[in-house]
Structures are given as C-alpha cells and as structure tokens.
C-alpha cells in the first residue's frame, strides 16, 4: 500500500517539473556553460588571445605559494565582519528597537522614517558611493578631515585611503555604512509576522528589553537571520566594486581581495589562466559555505521543535 502511495506521490511531484525547465535552461546557458569554460581555462596558460595552452595544475601550484593571494584572503575575512556579521548584528538590534519600541511607543510613522534613512545607502549605486566616499575621505579638503579640524582634532586628519595602515579600515567602514539597511529591512518585515501578544505577555511578566530580544525576537525571525547571514557572507566573499572604486586594491595591495586580485590578473596582467584559477578557488569556498549554511538552516529549527 505504501509503495503505491509513494509512487503516486512521485508522479504528482513529477508534474511540477515543467515549471523548472525555463529556469534550468537559462541557468545552463548563462551560468553553467560559462563557468565550465572558466574552470577549464584555470588549467591553461592563456593571455586572452590565441589558443590556451594546457598547463595542468601549474596555476594552482603558483597560487599555493603566492603571498599576495593569501594576503587578499586575510583582508576578505575582515570584509566578512564588515559586510555580514556587523550589519546583521546591528540590523537585528535596530529592527527590534524600531519594531518593539519606536513603532509601539511613538507610532509606525517614526519607525518607517528611521528605516528609510538607514536603508537609503542600499539604493545608492556602489560606483556613486565610491565617488562620494573618495571625496569625503580625500586628504586635501575632504569632508572627514575638515570636520576633524573643525572640532579641534586636526592631528587625526589623515590620508585615509592612501595610508596602508588605515586604507582597509576606511573601506570596511564604508561597507558597514552601505550594508546595514539590507538586514534591517528584511528583519523588520520578519518581525511583522510576530504576534504582538508575545511581546505584551513578556512585558507584563516583567521581562527586560534584552530578555525579550533574546527570547522572543531572535527565535521568531531565525529563518530571516539565516538568509541574511548567508547572503551577506557570500556578497562579502565576492566583493569587487567598492574596492575597485575606492582604492583599486591599493596602496600596495593593502586592500586587495581575491575577487579584485583575479580581476587584476584577467585585465591588467592578461594572465587569464591564473585569474580563472583564483576565481575557481573562490567559487569552491563559496559553494562549500553555502552548503554548510543550508544544512544548518535545514536542521537547526526543526531539531528544536
């Protein structure tokens, strides 16, 4: 009996397959084939013109001993903090404050105005964010240095993007500014789903704001937290445009990240094979991370229930 039922269920599921066909065909043409070509290029020596020459694992052997490549990975670890972990944490607290405190005590209008302000940098094209921050941080009459001078902290004025000691930190700060809005909006929409009586009950029981945050807010929007953390972590691993616009990986590679390093190899050094190898390694890391995240997401909440 159960065998027949599963077969019927299987046939029922097969009926949904046609809905996946357009997506899979487009995916193959736009992602699958080009990616396979890129992986193949990683095993060759190629300057972008003529025929690629088979090189086996030579590019990968080179990678293992390339200090610049490893340095770019260390920078990327910090980028994950600036683009994924910090914005998620800040976004979570802000979303809870806006929903639980501002919305309820000062009305939804105040909450949505504040949300709009924090989200605004997200709608700014990254190229423009780069242009703007390049001047704000400009060593000659840039706004940041002018403000420091105005409040008497002239000694702190600095060539923020030009000094290897501060370049990376300046870029990271810009990334936090750009990124906070995304988790905030997703978390606030998740919190709309939460039954307000949960908060009221907790409040009547005398639970502090911090306790309500830990025991009501966070567990209720766990799915959103997973989605946002996964998404922002992936975005930070392939970060390119902010680095390109703000510093071009400089000064002296101080802000280089793997995505930018591969770009340099593709277009500046026309070492296409080596660039392809870098992006292949980066892709493997991202895929592994995605699988781990999705596994954790699939198991975590159900295991507790």
């Amino acid at each position: 009996m159960s065998g027949k039922a599963t077969r019927a269920a299987g046939r029922e599921r097969l009926g949904y397959l046609p809905y996946l066909v357009p997506g899979l065909l487009l995916f193959t043409a736009v992602i699958g084939v080009p990616f396979a070509m890129n992986v193949a290029t990683g095993f060759t020596e190629w300057d972008g013109v003529g025929t690629p020459e088979w090189a086996g694992l030579a590019n990968y052997a080179r990678l293992a001993g390339d200090g610049e490549f490893w340095a770019s990975f260390r920078h990327n670890a910090l980028v994950i903090v600036a683009m994924a972990i910090a914005p998620t944490a800040i976004g979570l607290v802000l979303a809870a404050l806006l929903t639980d405190l501002v919305d309820r005590h000062f009305g939804p209008r105040a909450a949505s105005v504040l949300r709009a302000c924090v989200y605004l940098p997200q709608v700014l094209p990254i190229v423009i964010a780069g242009v703007v921050w390049s001047w704000l941080l400009n060593p000659q009459n840039g706004a940041v240095n002018e403000v420091l001078a105005a409040v008497g902290l002239e000694s702190l004025a600095h060539d923020w993007l030009g000094d290897p000691a501060t370049a990376l930190w300046s870029v990271l700060a810009v990334m936090v500014w750009v990124q906070i809005g995304f988790p905030l909006v997703v978390f606030m929409s998740g919190l709309q789903r939460v039954d307000p009586s949960l908060y009221e009950a907790a409040e009547i029981d005398g639970a502090s704001w911090a306790r309500r945050f830990r025991h009501v807010t966070v567990p209720q929007i766990r799915p959103e937290i997973f989605v946002v953390l996964l998404w922002t972590t992936i975005a930070s691993l392939k970060v390119f445009a902010p680095i390109y616009v703000l510093t071009k990986g400089g000064p002296g590679g101080a802000t280089s990240v793997p995505a930018y390093y591969s770009y340099q190899n593709f277009f500046d050094k026309t070492d296409v094979g080596y660039g392809a190898a870098i992006t292949t390694v980066l892709t493997l890391i991202i895929v592994a991370l995605t699988v781990v995240f999705l596994r954790a997401q699939g198991q975590g909440p159900e295991g507790e229930r």
Partner: protein, 294 residues
C-alpha cells in the same frame, strides 16, 4: 493601518494608546540615538547635494562643507551633456525594469516546482541555482563575453537583461521556495481535489498569497540591477547602450571631472534610485504588513 480597524481593531488601538502613555525617559533616549544614527547615515547624501549646486570656483575657495552661495546648475548641465544622460537613464530603466519583471516570474516558476512540488533532490537543485548569484561574476565575465560575441549579442542591452534575469532569480527562487515550503498544504490539496490544474493552483492560490513577497523582490531586483557595474561595463561598450553606473564609472576612471561635476554626476546618479525607493517604500511596507495579517 486601515486593516487594524476591522475585526479586533478596537482593542489593539486602546492598547496602543496605553503603550504611548507608558513611554519613559529611556524610550526617548533610544529614539534620540536612533535619529542621530539616521542623521549620520544621511550625511554623505547631504554633502552630495551641497556640492552639486556649487560653481567650481566656489568649491575650491570654500571647500566641501560650506553652504552653496547660489544655485548653480553648471556642474549638472555639463555632466548631462557630456554623457547624453537622458539616453543613459532610459537604458538603465529599460534594463532594470525588464530584469525585475522577468526575474520575479522566473523565481515564482522555480519556487513553485521546488517549494510546492517538492521535487526530488530539490536541495541540490537549490544549491546549484544559488550558484548563479553566489559565483563571483569575474568567474563568468570572460566566457560570457566570448559567448555573447559568438551569438551576436555583444554590446546589446538584451544580453545584460538575460544575464541578470538568471542571476537575480537565484535569490528570488531561494526566498520564495522557503516561503512556499511552509505554504498550508490543505489549501493546495483542496484546490487540487476541486479539479484545479497545477497552473490554476499557481495563478489563483499561490500567487495571490505570495504577492507581497513578489513585490518586495521586484523592488530589490530593480535596485540591484540598476547598481550592477562589472558585467554592464564589459558588455555595453557603445555610449548609446551604457547604464548610469557604467557612464559614471567610465567618467570617474578618466579623471576628467572636477569636484563639482563629480558631485553633480553623483546627484544625477543617485536621484533616480532614491526617487524609486521613496515611491516604492510605501508599497514595500504595505506589502509587508499585508503579509503579516495572515
């Protein structure tokens, strides 16, 4: 807000008034801090507006923080003419709008098969589809450039639309599939027993329920595509096809702009997205509240 007036409306409203009365000094402190944070987030926008309206002489004399002495559109018009900005705006709108609509449709179809259909191995299909959005675009741009030339789509807006429809729909598929996997099964089964085909279930049962999420995705996709840089830069070489980001990036790269012209360029570059956002921010929150009422 209007929705709360129906049904159990009376009670929550009274409670809301009570809550307002209860707000203490610490609530005000938090509110002030939040507004301060919001102000800090907006400073760069203010600086852009401030300097876009100055003449170059004024900028070099007074620096970036001084208020403009008059209302000069010199930088704005210079930039507009140099880039043929009307055409550039149209290109960006056409590409982002097409991608937003097509990618939402594709996401719904994918998510229907994965989330509702629960096709075997859907976990792996999802991981593979996610590759579209997770792969570094540098890993695709060379082969895509080569292939586009082979099929005659190089330097066309259509090529960029196709590529980003696939890339954006990965996130939409992921989000919608996880929403749809929690879809109330009895509702689906009832419709199927009543003789509705899968297509009818999708159109008349599933889509109306997830419409708020679709609206949110539409806004996200539009903005994300508008802001893309690397692939449009490689694909759209001729001036007639360039997007806002590409036109700005190219000009910035040539270092031909003075400070007021770059701020004017920034202003023109960010205005459309900010306007779009302000218009749709209402739809966004309304969609999200409507979703919460269920």
């Amino acid at each position: 807000m209007t929705a709360t007036l129906t049904g159990t409306g009376a009670r929550p409203r009274r409670e809301r008034r009570d809550a307002r009365r209860r707000r203490g000094p610490s609530a005000y402190l938090v509110l002030v801090l939040l507004f301060a944070l919001a102000g800090v987030m907006l400073i760069p926008f203010a600086v852009v507006v401030l300097n876009a309206l100055k003449t170059p002489e004024e900028y070099s004399a007074n620096g970036p923080l001084a208020l403009p002495e008059g209302f000069s559109l010199e930088g704005v018009t210079a930039f507009w003419e140099r880039t043929d900005f009307g055409q550039v705006l149209f290109n960006s709108a056409l590409i982002s709008g097409s991608v937003a609509v097509l990618a939402v449709l594709l996401s719904v179809l994918n998510a229907y098969a994965l989330g509702i259909g629960r096709i075997k191995g859907r976990m792996w299909v999802l991981v593979v589809l996610l590759l579209a959005n997770t792969l570094p675009q540098e890993a695709l741009v060379y082969p895509l450039y080569y292939l586009a030339k082979q099929v005659g789509l190089y330097d066309t807006r259509l090529a960029v639309v196709i590529v980003f429809t696939v890339i954006q729909s990965a996130f939409g598929t992921y989000l919608l599939a996880s929403v749809l996997s929690a879809f109330p099964r009895p509702l689906l089964e009832a419709a199927r027993i009543d003789g509705a085909s899968r297509w009818q279930v999708l159109r008349h049962v599933v889509v109306p329920v997830v419409r708020p999420t679709m609206a949110v995705l539409l806004v996200f996709f539009f903005v994300w595509t508008w802001n893309e840089f690397l692939i449009p830069l490689v694909f759209l070489v001729s001036n007639d096809n360039q997007t806002v980001s590409v036109a700005l990036g190219v000009l910035q790269g040539q270092r031909l702009m003075d400070a007021t012209m770059s701020s004017a360029a920034s202003l023109l570059g960010l205005l459309p997205t900010v306007l779009f956002f302000l218009v749709f921010q209402r739809t966004l929150s309304r969609g999200l509240t409507a979703g919460a009422l269920k």
